[in-house]
Symmetry: C2
Subunit: 280 residues, 2 copies
């Protein structure tokens, strides 16, 4: 009997490489593209899967708490290799490193290098303070990514995997009218019903269109560095994601993301540094 996996789990799965304890092999599919590249959240999620498998083998079980990835060259569909290193296995937390590489003309080229820490998200559910979830119109009153222009959809096969509904108040850019506020909010879930967990939250932090769109910056905005913090195990159901950016300078901008679960609880946040061409 075949075991069916959700699309996301299929995409980020890795297998140990025989004879090399630190190496894992996977493959990026065609279905998670943004333009010609593979979505950054998928790359980071696969890296996390590999590092977690390695740490598990060292007896360091744990949930993803923090992930910092530096993107070196664009990833494409095809085989991918993850090389892991265990930095520290502690009583409550473990930290490792992972390098993602692909063969290009026979040469192994590094795509991303990352550091990540793992711990136990269940040790305490105590909350002293958190950012409240934004009020969003219900998903059925939001702008579905399915309504995006066909040329946009064709360039982003990723959107076929997601059920993404953008708050109409922050979707003006899709009709050529960016608000200029530097904000984007929406609902997100996997189309095939795959429920959120810490690794899926890492993906969710980087799944929306760039917040730069809302500033009228529509070009390619490559991620140089991305750091995400997972702060709580999410409840099943829709996630709420809010993006913002306050500083756009010298060809660089940051994109901040916050994620809340279906019960409105703060579960994850991130900041990434992006290269941009500012409009003149």
């Amino acid at each position: 009997m075949a075991i069916e996996r959700f699309e996301f789990d299929e995409e980020i799965a890795v297998e140990p490489v025989e004879g090399r304890a630190e190496a894992y092999a996977g493959s990026f599919g065609e279905g998670w593209r943004i333009g010609n590249g593979v979505n950054g959240g998928v790359i980071m999620s696969l890296a996390t899967t590999a590092l977690q498998a390695r740490l598990d083998r060292e007896g360091a079980h744990g949930d993803l708490l923090a992930f910092s990835g530096y993107f070196l060259t664009p990833s494409g569909p095809g085989p991918v290799e993850a090389t892991t290193e265990v930095l520290r296995v502690g009583r409550t937390m473990s930290t490792g490193q992972v390098s993602i590489a692909q063969r290009s003309d026979g040469v192994l080229v590094e795509r991303m290098r990352a550091l990540a820490s793992f711990g136990d998200l269940d040790t305490s559910a105590e909350v002293m303070r958190t950012v409240p979830a934004p009020d969003l119109p219900p998903p059925e009153e939001c702008v579905s990514a399915q309504e995006a222009p066909p040329t946009f959809l064709a360039a982003a096969s990723l959107l076929e995997r997601l059920d993404l509904r953008i708050d109409p108040a922050t979707a003006g850019w899709a009709a050529g009218h960016p608000s200029g506020v530097g904000s984007m909010r929406g609902w997100l879930r996997m189309r095939d019903g795959r429920e959120p967990d810490p690794v899926m939250l890492l993906f969710a932090l980087d799944a929306l269109p760039p917040v730069a769109f809302d500033l009228g910056i529509l070009g390619w905005a490559p991620t140089l560095e991305f750091t995400g913090h997972i702060r709580r195990r999410p409840a099943p159901g829709w996630l709420r994601v809010a993006l913002s950016s306050q500083n756009v300078t010298a060809g660089l901008m940051e994109e901040d993301a916050v994620v809340w679960d279906s019960e409105g609880r703060f579960v994850a946040q991130s900041r990434q540094l992006c290269g941009i061409r500012t409009p003149r």
Copy 2:
């Protein structure tokens, strides 16, 4: 004739290790402690010096743009070794890795692992939008770190190197009356006149007392992960630093920092994830 160096430059200086192109040696002094450990900003600045020296040798000159450090074990005064790795030398940006280690009972123990990117902060001074600098009372009307209780000063030799003036509105914690807002603001400069540059900005992002103090969380709040972005070359003179935290959950909180230069321009920002014991 002796060449005089500023205290900060002396502290973060490294020398190449003969016969090992990737290794640099330095030493943490007694003068930059917080409690029993070495200040995290000093550790990150020394790591940056080493990585920059290595990249320079590869022809990859550049200013620090982004730095992500994962702290593994506490650093103490004494010899320190930095092991560098060049990940990518690009036309406009270069990325590397650096590991900081110290000998403990004869065994080399890793203190911090970091990734960092370097580029040219002068390519464009164009600013589209930035967070405005906070209004602060003039330095002479702020609370000098010198006014801290002697026991606190004795535990933080770091404060003797700095001219740090906290906005009275966010200094209530020093008198046992934290505001509960989760905010701290102040002026910062080096006492010996060392002017800010990109590496000193990295230090400045982690130089103030923990913002946790303003939430009444006075215990030890170790940094698990720190990511800083340097966005502009700073003008000489006083820096303004603002700390905030919005999410305190499950033994973890983030501390966000923003730095403006003496001309009131946004120059750097960071976020770190700290372990805490929340008051009950």
